[in-house]
C-alpha cells in the first residue's frame, strides 16, 4: 500500500484574536492531518482553541474580529483559506460538513427536519424531488431514526435530544462528504444517548470511509472512538499520536495532568460507616410540577419525585445519580427546602423539616447548605464575594466584622487569597467561583451539604481540584453530603452509597462498590455500560502530575 495522502491537511494555521483578548492567537502554528477512514479526536479544555480550529476549517469564524492570519487548510489539495466564497459554499456540505454541540439551536425551529435536509440536498444536487426524498428516508433509516416518514415531517422540538442529534448527523452525511467535523456532538446529551450517538458516528464513519475530526473535552469519549488523538493547550497541539499511545503512555506533562485528573470508574475502598443511626432521612418524598393549564384546561403534570426514600448516616456521602429529567435536582431542592415537597418527610436528626413554614425553617437553614452547579449563575455579579459569603451568617445575627473576618478565613481555606473578598465574581475563573460557592456554604457551619452537580460545568483538571477540596472539607468538618451528579466516574470517586434515579423514582440504591460491581436493575446496568471509555482505565503516574492552576 502506498503512502496514504491526507484528505484534510492543516499546515501551520494561526488564528488571531482581537487585541484585547488574553492571548494573541486562538490557534497558533497548528498542523494536523486527517486521513480517510479515521477518527481524529482533538481534545482540550475550554479556551484551548479547539472549536476555533474547527470553525476556521469551514470559514465560520466571526471575521474580522477573529481571523486566520497564517497557514493553509488543504482539503484534497485545495486551500480553504484561499478559495472564493462561492467555491467555499459548494464545498461545505458536499465535501466537508459539521455536526454541532447543541442540535436544538443548530436546527431551524420553524422548519421540518425533512425540509431542512432537503434544502441541503437541493442546493448541491440537481435531483428530482422524489429521489431526494428517497435519499433522505434511506439515510434516516441508516442513522436509526424510528419511523423515518414521521421524522421527516416533524419539527425539531418534537424530537428528543438524541433524535435531533441523529437528524443532525443525517444532515451532515446526506451528501456523503469525505470529511466530517463534529464539535462536541455528544456533550449536551445524556450518557445513554451519548453512547448510542457515538456508536452511530463510528458506524457511519466506517461504512462511508469518512475522515472524522472529533472535537471533545472528554477523555472517556476519546477512549471510546478515537483512532488518533491531538491534545490542545492554549491554541497549540502539545501532543499527538495513536489513541492507545496517548491515552496510556502520555508524554507531554499537560496530557499527563489531564489524564491524571480523569476520575477512575473503579470506586476506591471506603471505611465502613461508624454508626447505624440515620442522620438525614427522606421518606416517601413526592413532588409534581404542573405547567400550563388555566380555567378551561388541565395543565401537564410532571412527577419529578415519586415516593423517594433514602438515608444518610453522619459523615456519609450519598450520590444521587441519574440522567437529565430524572428528578435528582428536584429531590436536592426539596431536601434543602427551596422547593416545597407535595408529600413525604425529610428528617434531620429525627426531626421533620418537610412541612415547616418559612419562619420555623430559619434555624434549620444553618444546618443544611447547598453548592450549586453553575459557577457563573450561583454568585451575585453585583456584590463583592466576601460580602456574599458573610451575608448568610449576618442573617443569623453575626456581626458584620466577625462575618467578614470569617469570610476571609474561609476564602483562605478553599484556596483563595483573603484579599479576594473585596473582588467581584467576574474577576474569578469558573473553578475559583465554585470554591467561593463552597466557602459561602461553609460560612453557615452546616452539618449537611447538598452539592448539585458541583463539578459538571468545570474542566477536567479543575474538576479534580474542586473534588479534592470537597473531600477535604468533608473530612475536616465531618460533613454529611448529598451529592447530585450525572457522571458515574465522579460518583465512583466521591460517594459512599449511590441511589440511581429514573423518572422521579429511585430504581436501585446501595454501597457504591456493590452497585458498580453488581448492578441489579437493568437501568443501572445500561447506565454503567454507557459510560464512555469504560474499558479504559486512566493510567496512574508515579510522578503525581502537577495540575494546571485553577
Amino acid at each position: 500500500m502506498a503512502e496514504p495522502t491526507p484528505i484534510l491537511d492543516i499546515q501551520g494555521l494561526s488564528v488571531a484574536l482581537p487585541s484585547n483578548a488574553d492571548r494573541k492567537h486562538a490557534v497558533g502554528d497548528l498542523s494536523l492531518q486527517l486521513f480517510p477512514n479515521e477518527i481524529v479526536c482533538v481534545v482540550g479544555e475550554s479556551g484551548s482553541g479547539k472549536s476555533v480550529m474547527a470553525r476556521a476549517i469551514l470559514g465560520l469564524l466571526p471575521v474580522p474580529r477573529v481571523r486566520p492570519v497564517a497557514g493553509r487548510i488543504l482539503l484534497e489539495g485545495e486551500d480553504l483559506l484561499a478559495v472564493p466564497p462561492a467555491r467555499l459554499r459548494a464545498i461545505r456540505g458536499q465535501r466537508i460538513s459539521m455536526v454541532f454541540q447543541e442540535p436544538m439551536t443548530a436546527l431551524n425551529p420553524v422548519m421540518t427536519i425533512g425540509d431542512q435536509i432537503d434544502e441541503v440536498v437541493a442546493t448541491h444536487l440537481p435531483l428530482p424531488e422524489r429521489e431526494r426524498r428517497q435519499r433522505i428516508l434511506e439515510l434516516f433509516a441508516a442513522v436509526k431514526l424510528p419511523d423515518p416518514e414521521r421524522i421527516r415531517h416533524a419539527y425539531p422540538h418534537q424530537l428528543s435530544g438524541g433524535q435531533r442529534q441523529r437528524a443532525m448527523i443525517a444532515m451532515a452525511l446526506v451528501l456523503g462528504p469525505p470529511v466530517l467535523i463534529a464539535d462536541e456532538p455528544t456533550t449536551a446529551l445524556d450518557v445513554t444517548t451519548q453512547a448510542q450517538v457515538l456508536t452511530l458516528i463510528k458506524e457511519m464513519q466506517g461504512l462511508r470511509q469518512t475522515g472524522v475530526l472529533f472535537i471533545t473535552h472528554d477523555f472517556g469519549v476519546v477512549a471510546e472512538i478515537a483512532d488518533r488523538v491531538a491534545v490542545m493547550q492554549r491554541g497549540r497541539i502539545v501532543e499527538q499520536g495513536p489513541a492507545a499511545d496517548v491515552l496510556n503512555r502520555p508524554q507531554h506533562p499537560y496530557t499527563r495532568a489531564l489524564i491524571g485528573a480523569v476520575p477512575k470508574l473503579e470506586p476506591p475502598p471506603r471505611p465502613a460507616p461508624s454508626s447505624k443511626v440515620p442522620f438525614l432521612e427522606v421518606r416517601g418524598l413526592d413532588k409534581a410540577f404542573r405547567s400550563g393549564g388555566g380555567i378551561f384546561s388541565r395543565g401537564r403534570v410532571v412527577h419529578a419525585a415519586r415516593n423517594v426514600s433514602f438515608q444518610l448516616r453522619r459523615g456519609e456521602t450519598l450520590g444521587l445519580v441519574g440522567e437529565s429529567g430524572s428528578g435528582k435536582s428536584t429531590v436536592a431542592r426539596c431536601v434543602i427546602r427551596l422547593v416545597d415537597p407535595d408529600g413525604g418527610d425529610i428528617l434531620i436528626g429525627g426531626e421533620d423539616i418537610a412541612h415547616l413554614g418559612r419562619r420555623a425553617l430559619r434555624p434549620w437553614r444553618q444546618r443544611i447548605q447547598m453548592v450549586f452547579q453553575d459557577p457563573f449563575a450561583s454568585l451575585n455579579p453585583r456584590r463583592p464575594v466576601g460580602r456574599q459569603i458573610a451575608d448568610g451568617p449576618m442573617t443569623h445575627g453575626v456581626t458584620a466584622e466577625a462575618a467578614m473576618a470569617r469570610a476571609r478565613s474561609l476564602l483562605e481555606l478553599v484556596g483563595l487569597e483573603p484579599k479576594a473578598a473585596d473582588r467581584y465574581p467576574h474577576e474569578f475563573s469558573g473553578g475559583q467561583r465554585q470554591r467561593i460557592g463552597i466557602a459561602r456554604a461553609l460560612a453557615m457551619d452546616p452539618e449537611i451539604l447538598v452539592a448539585d452537580e458541583p463539578v459538571s460545568a468545570l474542566d477536567v483538571s479543575v474538576q479534580a481540584q474542586v473534588l479534592e477540596l470537597l473531600a477535604d472539607i468533608r473530612r475536616r468538618f465531618g460533613l454529611t453530603m448529598l451529592f447530585i451528579t450525572h457522571d458515574l466516574r465522579v460518583a465512583a470517586q466521591v460517594c459512599d452509597t449511590i441511589a440511581v434515579m429514573r423518572q422521579g423514582e429511585i430504581v436501585e440504591s446501595g454501597p457504591t462498590a456493590e452497585i458498580f460491581a453488581r448492578p441489579s436493575h437493568p437501568y443501572t446496568q445500561t447506565l454503567l455500560a454507557s459510560v464512555p471509555g469504560r474499558a479504559w482505565t486512566p493510567p496512574a503516574f508515579a510522578d503525581a502530575p502537577v495540575a494546571a492552576a485553577v
Binding site: 425553617l361 449563575a377 453585583r382 442573617t395 443569623h396 460557592g437
Partner: protein, 275 residues
C-alpha cells in the same frame, strides 16, 4: 466609573446628546439669574421678530420669548424628572413584587397593570388633569399614572428571570428575608434596564407635558414650552417663531434624552452591542 465612561464614549451620538442635555440643564439652572422676573411679564411691543432687540423676539402680548423658553425649560425638566421618578418608583415596586412572588400576587398586580395599559395613555392623562384641575401637581400625577405600567412590566420580567438564578436560591437557603433578597440581591442586578427605561421615560414625560399644556391643560401660572406653542398657533402664519422656537426646544431636549438613553443602554448592556 471611568470604565463606564469609556464604554459610553464609544457611542458618539450619545456624547452629543449628553452635551445637548447639559446645555438645556444649564439653561434651566442659570436662567433665573438672567430672567429673575416672571416669564409672563410684558416687556415690549408684540410681534417683534427674532434677532432684533430681543434675541428670540416677542409674542402677541409683548412677552420675551427667550424668557419663556428659559422658564419653560425649568418646567419641562422638573415635570419630566419628578413624574418619571414617581412612575419609576411605583413601577419598580409593582413589578418587583409581582415578579418575585408570582402566583396570585403576580396575577392581581399584572391584571391591574393591564387595566391601565388598555386606556390610551394621552387621553387618560387629559382626563386625569381635567378631573384634578390643571396644576403642576396634577400634571405630574397624570404623567406618572400613565407611564408606570411599562416600568412595572420590565421589572417584573427581570425579577422573574433573576428569581430562578442560583445566587438568589443560595440566599433563600441562607435564610435571608424576602425584603433583603429583593433589595440587596435582585434589585442591583436589574438597575441597568431600569436606568435606561427611566431615561427614556423622561423624554416621554416631557412630550406628554407639552401636549397637555398645548391643549391648555397645563398649570396656568407656570410658563411651559407646550403652552407657548399652544398660544402661538393662532398666529402661526404671521409669527412663525412663536411656535417654531419652543417646538425646536422640545425636539432637541427629547432627542438629547433619547440619545443619552441609547448610550446608557449600550454602555450598561455591553453584550447587546457586540453583534
Amino acid at each position: 466609573m471611568i470604565a463606564f465612561w469609556h464604554l459610553f464614549r464609544r457611542n458618539r451620538a450619545a456624547v452629543f446628546g449628553l452635551a445637548l442635555l447639559g446645555l438645556v440643564l444649564l439653561l434651566a439652572a442659570a436662567g433665573p439669574l438672567f430672567y429673575p422676573e416672571s416669564a409672563f411679564k410684558l416687556v415690549d411691543k408684540p410681534f417683534q421678530a427674532p434677532f432684533g432687540h430681543w434675541l428670540l423676539g416677542t409674542d402677541m402680548l409683548g412677552r420675551d420669548v427667550l424668557a419663556g423658553l428659559v422658564h419653560g425649560a425649568r418646567t419641562s425638566l422638573l415635570i419630566g424628572l419628578v413624574a418619571t421618578f414617581v412612575a419609576a418608583t411605583f413601577g419598580v415596586v409593582m413589578g418587583g413584587l409581582a415578579g418575585y412572588y408570582g402566583g396570585w400576587i403576580d396575577d392581581l398586580l399584572m391584571r391591574t397593570t393591564e387595566l391601565f395599559q388598555t386606556i390610551p395613555s394621552f387621553i387618560f392623562a387629559i382626563v386625569l388633569v381635567a378631573v384634578l384641575s390643571p396644576s403642576i401637581e396634577s400634571v405630574v400625577i397624570a404623567i406618572a399614572v400613565v407611564s408606570w405600567p411599562a416600568m412595572a412590566r420590565l421589572v417584573r420580567g427581570e425579577f422573574m428571570a433573576l428569581r430562578g438564578r442560583e445566587f438568589v436560591q443560595a440566599s433563600v437557603a441562607q435564610g435571608m428575608s424576602d425584603a433583603k433578597i429583593i433589595l440587596v440581591q435582585i434589585l442591583p442586578n436589574c438597575l441597568s434596564p431600569i436606568i435606561v427605561t427611566g431615561s427614556l421615560m423622561v423624554a416621554t414625560a416631557i412630550l406628554i407635558e407639552s401636549g397637555l399644556s398645548f391643549l391648555g391643560l397645563g398649570d396656568p401660572n407656570v410658563m411651559s414650552w407646550g403652552f407657548m406653542i399652544g398660544a402661538g398657533r393662532g398666529v402661526l402664519r404671521s409669527a412663525w417663531w412663536l411656535c417654531a422656537i419652543p417646538g425646536l426646544a422640545i425636539l432637541l431636549t427629547v432627542l438629547a434624552i433619547n440619545l443619552v438613553g441609547e448610550g446608557l443602554n449600550d454602555a450598561l448592556n455591553p453584550r447587546l452591542r457586540e453583534r
